[in-house]
């Protein structure tokens, strides 16, 4: 499979990207994919491992290593290499519901675990995936797969994020009648409003939703289950209910002055921007949200980076991104070997853009906010920060970050975006269905199962698992579909 010596002969090559200063002019994707010919050689670099770590999706040293979907990476890479795009597409879709999403937003666990990464650069699996799925769309191979036979069973999927969509697609194709409920105005959940458009073009989401609709999935938007429609009603109408509402309760920064105006949760902010763009067909850019402001982003993760990229596009005056943890090393530390997830410094697109625009990295490590300071109108204008240091908690033995006395600083901030993660599922939904939740506010299910404490109600995705990656959500959605199918039919061939 593949080309045995490919990894020695060819270098890794990524898609070209538009220069930061060019791409910040709009909110569109900025990657310029390789030609199919060149992409083929990227497939040739795959070593067709006897133990493909890339697709293992297993926990190593507490972190996921390899693809949780168990994508058949060596097989698709091989088919990319041989230019067999259609077969590659079929192989990819065997395990994957939405390659077009992950090939844009996934941190590529497959590549981190790639054996080529042990001594050299990993195979460009993520871009291979994108090439496969985009080729498939371009060639018209992606067609709605309507079930030939309907089972007569009905399923409600609550929440149209990646987990909900994946489950809905599976269940519908199997022959069940599926309705997806979405509280927002457009389906897609996090894919729609949690990820900015330049990272995941919303037409890509629409394209998939349209396909699913053609396959027979019904989407009910602007319907907030637990508020607009009662749980009991749903259970009356549908044979099964699957909860995929995400872990959408954001973690707050509870410090003095938090009630100042101009402090947003990142998802709300990003969603507002995207909605404005979509509503106006990209005609209206909501510059007013950030133009000319000193922006403080709290949280060093992917969402924080998305915020940086977004406010730069909105014309922010400056941007700072606070991260509590210390700056990671540039190369893998001794105790963080392959195939563990590399805890190394990664400069994402937003940070690149900040460097290009402001001349310096926006990230400030080992720092947090101790107080928000509002002006007279109640608008945020400054934030007080403090340096942190590591300290071992004597009782639990865990590492804590504690303030360093005398390092307090006050910095200007007219816009604060809190991207400090999520706490778990939202209470009103779990309450509505009276499903049991665990101490982290995730829905409690059997260890390897998706059934909740309430009969006929299932849960999957971040709502069950806690905040995680899109790829995990898709896996959960697919597995939950299998569980739902089995509970409906007594057997499953999913």
């Amino acid at each position: 499979m593949g080309k045995p010596t490919g990894f020695l002969e060819y270098k890794r090559e990524n898609a070209k990207v538009l220069a930061p200063k060019v791409r910040i002019a709009d909110f569109h994707e900025f990657r310029l994919p390789l030609s199919r010919e060149k992409q083929r050689l990227q497939g040739a670099r795959c070593m067709a491992c006897g133990v493909p770590f890339c697709q293992s999706g297993t926990m190593i040293a507490g972190m996921t290593s390899g693809c949780p979907l168990h994508n058949l990476v060596p097989e698709t890479n091989d088919l990319v290499y041989t230019g067999n795009w259609k077969q590659a597409y079929l192989r990819l879709c065997k395990t994957h519901s939405f390659p077009e999403f992950t090939s844009r937003v996934c941190p590529a666990l497959c590549e981190a675990a790639c054996t080529c990464n042990l001594d050299g650069e990993p195979v460009a699996t993520k871009e291979n995936e994108r090439a496969i799925i985009e080729t498939a769309f371009a060639e018209g191979w992606v067609k709605p797969q309507k079930p030939k036979v309907r089972t007569g069973k009905t399923v409600a999927v609550i929440g149209s994020g990646p987990a909900g969509l994946a489950a809905a697609q599976e269940l519908n194709r199997r022959g069940h009648t599926v309705t997806v409920y979405e509280r927002s105005d457009r389906p897609g959940g996090l894919l729609r409003y949690g990820i900015p458009n330049m990272k995941l073009e919303k037409s890509v989401v629409d394209r998939r939703i349209r396909l699913m609709e053609e396959e027979g999935v019904e989407f009910k938007v602007k319907t907030d289950v637990g508020k607009d429609i009662k749980a009991e009603e749903l259970l009356k109408i549908y044979d099964r209910v699957l909860l995929t509402c995400g872990a959408s309760a954001p973690r707050d920064i509870k410090v003095p002055g938090r009630d100042a105006k101009g402090i947003w949760f990142a998802v709300d902010f990003l969603g507002t921007v995207t909605r404005s763009l979509l509503d106006s067909d990209f005609a209206k850019v909501p510059y007013e949200l950030a133009r000319g402001k000193n922006v403080l982003v709290i949280g060093g993760g992917d969402t924080g980076n998305d915020c940086v990229g977004t406010v730069i596009r909105l014309g922010a005056k400056s941007v700072k991104q606070l991260e509590m943890m210390p700056e990671p090393p540039v190369e893998r530390a001794e105790d963080n070997p392959w195939p563990q997830w590399p805890r190394v410094l990664k400069t994402d697109y937003g940070q690149e853009e900040a460097i290009a625009v402001f001349g310096k990295d926006p990230r400030v490590y080992q720092t947090t906010v101790t107080e928000f300071i509002a002006d007279k109108k109640g608008n945020i204008c400054k934030a007080k920060t403090v340096r942190l240091k590591r300290k071992r908690d004597e009782k639990t033995g865990r590492m804590l970050m504690v303030p360093v006395e005398g390092t307090e600083k006050v910095i200007p901030a007219e816009l604060v975006l809190i991207a400090a993660g999520f706490l778990g599922s939202q209470k009103y939904v779990t309450d509505a269905f009276q499903v049991a939740v665990n101490e982290r506010a995730n829905v409690d299910t059997a260890l390897d199962g998706y059934a909740t404490s309430v009969p006929r109600v299932f849960a999957a995705g971040d709502m069950r698992r806690g905040q995680s990656l899109v790829v995990w959500a898709i896996r959960e959605g697919r597995e939950a579909a299998r569980a739902v199918d089995e509970s409906l039919m007594g057997y499953t061939n999913l």
Partner: protein, 1516 residues
Amino acid sequence: MKEVRKEEQQGLYRREFEHDNCGIGAVVNIKGKKTHETVANALRIVEHLEHRAGKDAEGETGDGVGILLQISHKFFKKACKKEGFEIGGEREYGIAQLFFPQHEIRRAQAKKMFEIILEKEDLKLLGWRTVPVFPEVLGSKARECMPCIMQAFIQKPQDVEAGISFDRKLYIARREFEQSNDNTYVVSMSSRTIVYKGMFLVGQLRTFFADLQNRDYESAIAMVHSRFSTNTNPSWERAHPNRFIVHNGEINTIRGNADKMLAREENMESPYLKGELHKVLPVVNRNGSDSAMLDNTLEFLVMSGMDLPLAVMITIPEPWAYNDTISQEKRDFYQYYATMMEPWDGPASILFSDGDVMGAVLDRNGLRPSRYYITSDGYMILSSEVGVLPVPEENIVLKERLHPGKILLVDTVQGKVIDDDELKEKYAKAQPYGEWLNSNLVRLKDIKIPNVRVEEYTEEQRARLQKAFGYTYEQYRTSIRNMALNGTESIGAMGTDTPLAVLSREHRPLFDYFKQLFAQVTNPPIDAIREEIVTSTSVYAGKDGNLLVQQPENCRVLKILHPILTNTDMLKIKNLKQDGLRSAVVSTLYYKSTRLERAIDRLFVEVDKVFREGANILVLSDRGVDENHMAIPSLLAVSAVHQHLVKTKKSTSLAIIVESGEPREVHHFAALLGYGASAVNPYLAQETIRELIDNHMLDKDYYAAVEDYNHAVLSGIVKIASKMGISTIQSYQGSQIFEAVGISKEVIDKYFTGTVSRVGGITLADIEENVEKLHSEAFDPLGLNTDLTLDSVGAHKMRSQGEEHRYNPRTIHLLQQSAKCGSYEMFKEYTKLVDEENHGSLRGLMDFVYAENPVPLDEVESVEEIVKRFKTGAMSYGSISQEAHETLAIAMNHLHGKSNTGEGGESEERIASSGSENDRCSAIKQVASGRFGVTSRYLVSAKEIQIKMAQGAKPGEGGHLPAKKVYPWVAKTRHSTPGVSLISPPPHHDIYSIEDLAQLIYDLKNANKFADISVKLVSEAGVGTVAAGVAKAGAQTILISGYDGGTGAAPRSSIHNAGLPWELGLSETHQTLLKNGLRSRVRIETDGKLMSGRDVAIAALLGAEEFGFATAPLVTMGCVMMRVCNLDTCPVGVATQNPELRKRFRGKPEYVENFMKFIAEELREYMARLGVRTVDEMVGRSDLLRAAENVDEPHIGKVDLGAILDNPYAGKAQKVTFDPRAVYNFELEKTLDEKILLKKCAQAVSGRTRVELNVEVTNTDRTFGTILGAEITRQIPAGLPEDSIVINCKGAGGQSFGAFIPKGLTLRLTGDSNDYFGKGLSGGKLIVKIPEKAGYKAEENIIVGNVALYGATSGTAFINGVAGERFAVRNSGACAVVEGVGEHGCEYMTGGRVVVLGKTGKNFAAGMSGGIAYVLDAENMLYRNINKAMISIEQVENKYDRQELRNLIEAHVEATGSEIGKKILDNFAYYLPHFKKLIPDEYKRMLTLSAKLEEKGLTGEQAQMEAFYESIGVKH
């Protein structure tokens, strides 16, 4: 005798596993003159074959010795008179030699029965005679079960002719008696011959039987046999001779032969046994040995009117299909009989006699030695060895050997010797066979394709069928595609680590439960590629003819050249409209709701119906699987029907052809053929090829692709058969050479009768459930959508959604990290994962029985002590990198464990580093079939010498190191040429049988008397009995490898389907050694994916004392189970020679050491809990193991570990571990080397003086000169100056004369020598010449035996006469001149020079990849005998070549005084054009390349390097 059998079915041992090999001999007076001399000389022969006879641990009971003689009228007349009765004239009476019970009443009953039967058959008993014997000479075991030996004298009725007619009457009576009485044994019963035999040491035959000592006992024919059995079970009747034959060798296809013989009873009718046939049946006695069954068959054919030589010819035919040196008549004759009788295949040197003629035949491969002399006084003396009987040289008129496939006959009535040609021409011309074939035999390829379309499927239908038959993506993308693309099977690496089929959660096809058996020790695997000449793939379908009557319609059958059928072949067969050939299709489909058992019963009814309607070709078809039709698994259907046909005696009247969607991999087809199918049409596999083409995954013409796929399958089957030593598909078919693992007794007994299955397992209901599950994935019961894409199961290369692999991302990571960081806690995390029970091994189903009072941990044997028992696996330098290889050696030397060289030799520098700080010298030196770099120095440097009989990943197969992997540094340690491919033959060419192995063990012990000799075997059914034989042969360590081990490259079908788990093999070995009282003689070692302390603890409890690790240490050094070892692209620098990749190697000795220590530490923890303090205490304590409960494994309750855990021989008062006092005594002090040579050469050995001495030698002086040679190497590693020590010998050299002798030692032998002359020659000089007064011409007579100069690495040999088969096989550097060679000369040679001044046998230079041979081809016939696959034939034109040739011949003449040599030198210009130069193409290319580069100014080494890179097309 019955009671014994019952006991033998306990535990893992089975009586049918027993094997025996032997030494044979015969003395015949050609003119038929009876003398006592003949008897006495034959006894003397057997007494000189002691080293070919086995004995028990105490050395006092032999395995069996016997003699067949003509009835001596002179003797018996007197003897009977003494008993008080007259016997009449010569041949007027017959004698039954009988083994009767010692128990008086039972004996009386038997005698009475015998008398009654005689009476009923109108035969008159003249009287009884108790045979006078001397039991006191016997060993205790033999005496305990000694029968009462009696002779009955039977008068010839008046109306019956003397000779065969009378013998026929006696035969009928005997068969009746045998079936009416089961505690007696009829040794012989004939008017012409008599057999004396028993459980003797070779000398005891004479001393036990007074008759044989009597000077009155005279005979013109005497055949003797000494048996070397794998075990020491008491058995008098298993000694040879049988009634007609003595046999040295083994019939590998015996199951199929016996089945077919029994079925043939229905088709055979002879006027000679008219009305009496029913008394004789069954023709073969299933409880007998292979030799006994062959004897039964020959006897039956002879009694039915066939000439004995003809019967022998058709059961052991010479290879005729690809042989263009035989006449058309002969070919027709063989073809005619091939339609009715399959070859009885296997190594065989058979001597046969009916009292009038005495003959000998050798199997088609020439695998047993048989030498003979004809003397001027009219004797023929034949034996396994020369020198067994001293004959004055001047009396010898001919020294010859039996040739492969040839018969030699002495007719004592006519008084002449009849050679093969004369004999075969006579039979070939007896009938117009050619004409008969022409009008009757139908060849499939000649039938016109009927005007019918082949059924085709839509994409969706195809996908559903693939799902229903359980196809996987790996099979689709890798197996099927690669076969269709390349015409060969896929290669894999790193063994297997997936569950046994029975313990798998995947839906594994039934094929996966069957493991291929293979030959080891007691018979050799063969090389079907290099020795294709002996193979045949033809099968015959139709009703077998009547073997006993020669008639044209006998050959009215369908000949299928290629048993993997295309769809058009299938059309032809289904539409067959020929006289006497009718096919009928029976469907193997059944309705979804039907029970499988009923479906099979219905199948039987259908089969019987078509049979009644006259069909003789049965097509079992599963075409038509759909929503409600499921298919009986094809293997189940075939085997069930085959067994049904065998039971109802229809199997030779109705051939089974399978049309199935299920088979797709080589192993599947092999299983189908092995269980009775004659041919297979894999329609879905072929459809799948179409799909691959349609999907652009295979860019090839469909018909070409199918042809290549079929070819790959067929050559794969031929390879599987050849692993068992079987060379024809016709004999493989129905031979059931498999062991089942995980199938219940009921299913086996009913549908796979006779197959060994020792741990129980799945029932018919489970099989049914599996079929249904797969079917519902293809056809959803509600018609809902299902995923029709093929699943990725990851049977070989892992897939996370598929089969469990014990080496997976988590375990690999934890193992690497723990070894690197030295963290035992992390190691415990690792073992917790690898010991999880769902890895599907037998040991996973076991639990410990912990002691109530554990031992404190600090009282348990220390880690430092335990690791001394650890070894790393045999991985050659060449398969893994220098860095990896040395890291292992350093680590193991630190720990005082042992590392293993593998089969690739070891560099001088590393050997020299022994004992230094940086000791990289491997303690274990492996000797494998390729003998790469096996020099005197290599052997002398060993602490342990390991003979690799088989390797876990590919037992029974050889190896092929492709040219591009033979880097210059690899070539150097292997004594070969860079860039030239290297072939290791499947067998050791000096081990075709157990006594051969004993000889090699003896050789190696001579080559280094301080080293232990170890023998590596692979677990399979019967490995225990083989191990017992190996222990008897003198090994000190026996390694039982599991099937799952193996780090190198091997065909995937072998990795996954050959061999068994070590749990079975190890327990069987431990039990069988105990049973035979041999356990304390040897250490048992085991390996095969030993990954944790738990694995090791279980291995110890099952009987292992030492433990081998290969994969795990590689992983600690960085291996990530890439499984690309065969591609030279290992990304971590472990299994590669590529300098770029080697730079990536990150392993350190500490990592390996940490791993070993951790394993030991964990083992200690188990020991403490088990309540034992030392490893020795726990060895064999299977009572501390029990079947685990509450384990989450599929089919767990059905797997029965009883046979493994309940050791029937435990607890008896004998030592269960190795005891140094019980070690085999080689008696080296009795060798001439120790007695004379070392003493007289003491000064010369250290290089201080030169010495020359004279000694007399005989055939029992085996391995002469080797101890002296080893001493030279020990003192002066580089050897002495030429001719520093010259030993002049006279007489017959024993086997392995001059083995491994180093530079400076010259052995000059006047006389002749036996097999393995100059084995492993390491720089010494060997000369053998005929005595001055010889009465024959040197160049026409055999002077050295088979396999001379095998594995020679340097030195010279001058041979003044003809050598036997396989001369200079695997020579890599020696120069030899010889005056003629047998078949397969210079096979696999990689270096050196061979000059042949005479004829060569067939298949010369097969697989030869280096060196040069100059052959005198006076009659321009050489081209016919050359295997041209790798070499070119040239004239000797180049002046260097001319000079070299001349120099060698001059040296030869000088050394031997060769007449022919002188003649050539005298007329050199005349002879030169008649010489042919044979040079391998690759070798020549490399020589030319480096020569060119040297001209450019590069040094020799640089030039080699550059040439290598240029040849593999790499710029560097």
